[in-house]
Symmetry: C2
Subunit: 344 residues, 2 copies
């Protein structure tokens, strides 16, 4: 197995990527190809005593600078590390691509180079939300602001297979994000999608609200990219407001400072729960290839976890499983598209 | 001034309501009419040494029981305390109605009895979100799952007047909830609404995300009722997950327990920030009358704050201000409705 790793993706590139490649190559004995500026990557890799490890470098001369608009820059600079890395996957020289670069740029490049799984209407951005007892796969979190019922059906299929194959959930519980648990609640899109998911052959548990999502009642939660993006960013913002307020109040007096010191293990647990490094990376689902995008703030532990997840996906034959799950429901999707197009 | 108070609304009815009525009548010297089952309310009120206070009771014999579907029960039981109270406002015997009962039932009864402000397409449910430095008015949080641009314009107008008149914000900053700050981001509804808000004469600050909302960058945030409801419930669920986890971890060892004891002032501050009692109640905006709905879990302090807010709204002439702000933009709304109807 070969994992293609974007060496230029994280905010602190290329150090987290190179360090993670070394750790992962030692542990997994799989080949890792670091894609990036050779002049930058080579000496740093050498300095890490990596001579006997199956790590190689693929040169990508174009650098997307901080402050450039990622998608526009990706167009103007075709030999950027994402494009070069994805082409390696396309050419069969790698089994999965991992990056901590901009998500929009990753989706743009992946669509252009790898394309969609046959029959997929729209690929989705995925996030793993920290919830009670673990994580929940939420999609779409931003690729498709306006969705149709058949898109949401496919998101449900893709998310369910991912949860099963990579997160080892048996018969994953799939929920539809809505403004009420009862069937019949929702906007028009949700009302149209609900009966379709009931017939999808998935383990559809019905509408879910924030309570069920963060309470850990579902393995996969499906939503349109507009709502999903607001859900993601608002959840992060609430968590930040609460932890910032707590931090400020804890340093307000000597007594509370001592209290905070003694209570540190509890705060560390909270911090770990919200740490994106725990998750590593989330897949672009619906792309005809395995592409994982980690947080820009990824450190070497986050990048290592991203590689680990990508490896798991390859070992679990995720891509063929996604392809056949989509193919199984092609007729269903076509019928929905016809029906809803006739209505509008 | 007379405030009409639903005595049967809160989960612990009628004690929080009666206690709050006594405190508020003493402090404000305004008349308060408690609406509810006289046999229940009268002895409890008498026991509180309220003989010389301007508090009266209006009998409402129909009781909506816990477990009944609120809106259906409101239909079957027309002499429930909400309906009786709202009719008092309708007849001019009171200036504002306050309830801690079910929000859907309040909206149903208010629409039926008081109707909409002339020209308002859809009234909205409002919530005050705790944000950095204070609170933000968010609407709609659940009345209208599918919205049109002219609805959102009117929500912005109603929310802005409310923030100005009742929350004393000068020139309130109005944001449009979207999946990106840049103009041009959003689903079709947001893209259509953005240029309308730019021309609305309001202090429109553009698209906002969770970061701006919870960071306190806006006084009013406008959204459709589907997204707003998910935002509200998810934020509550995230806060609950974090505080529950923290609580569990803090009680995990003797050391952390001692730490938690010393750090208690910080936790109390956090708790206060998320306490619905601080807010008291939020208005149904667009209804042709002043109606305030508090949390079902309201205690007497929450009910007192709800009365205080309602009194402020009456004193500030909120209703006439809402009416004229809507009237000023009637032509604009009609033009938008025509244009978008022609497009679809």
């Amino acid at each position: 197995m070969t994992i293609i790793l974007d060496a230029m993706g994280s905010d602190q590139y290329p150090d987290p990527e190179i360090q993670a490649a070394v750790i992962a190559a030692k542990e997994f004995s799989e080949e890792i190809i670091l894609v990036g500026d050779e002049n930058l990557v080579k000496p740093k890799l050498k300095a890490l005593d990596s001579q006997n490890l199956p790590i190689h470098i693929e040169h990508a001369p174009d650098l997307v600078e901080m402050g450039e608009k990622p998608v526009e820059a990706a167009k103007r600079k075709p030999r950027n590390s994402m494009a070069v890395g994805l082409n390696l996957v396309k050419e069969g020289r790698g089994d999965a691509f991992v990056t901590a670069g901009n998500t929009g740029a990753a989706m743009f490049n992946a669509l252009r180079i790898l394309g969609r799984i046959k029959g997929v209407a729209r690929p989705a951005l995925t996030a793993l939300f920290p919830v009670r007892g673990g994580h929940c796969v939420v999609l779409d979190i931003g690729a498709n602001a306006d969705c149709r019922p058949e898109f949401l059906l496919q998101f449900a299929v893709l998310g369910s297979i991912y949860a099963e194959k990579v997160l080892n959930r048996k018969n994953p519980r799939v929920g539809l994000l809505s403004n009420g648990e009862e069937a019949g609640k929702g906007n028009q899109l949700i009302k149209d999608t609900f009966p379709i998911l009931e017939k999808s052959g998935l383990n559809f548990i019905g509408n879910v609200e924030g309570k069920e999502l963060f309470g850990g009642a579902a393995d996969v939660v499906v939503t349109d990219g507009f709502t999903g993006n607001i859900l993601l960013k608002s959840s992060e913002a609430v968590a930040k407001l609460l932890t910032d307020t707590l931090k400020e109040e804890l340093t307000a007096s000597t007594i509370t400072k001592i209290g905070a010191l003694l209570a540190r293990p509890a705060f560390n647990k909270l911090k770990a729960m919200m740490d994106p490094a725990e998750v590593g990376a989330a897949p672009l689902l619906g792309i005809d290839g395995l592409v994982f995008v980690g947080h820009g703030r990824s450190d070497n532990r986050a990048m290592y976890n991203a590689i680990r997840i990508a490896r798991q996906a390859v070992k679990a034959d995720l891509l063929p499983a996604l392809r056949s799950a989509i193919e199984e429901r092609l007729e269903m999707v076509e019928n929905i598209a016809k029906t809803t197009l006739n209505q509008s």
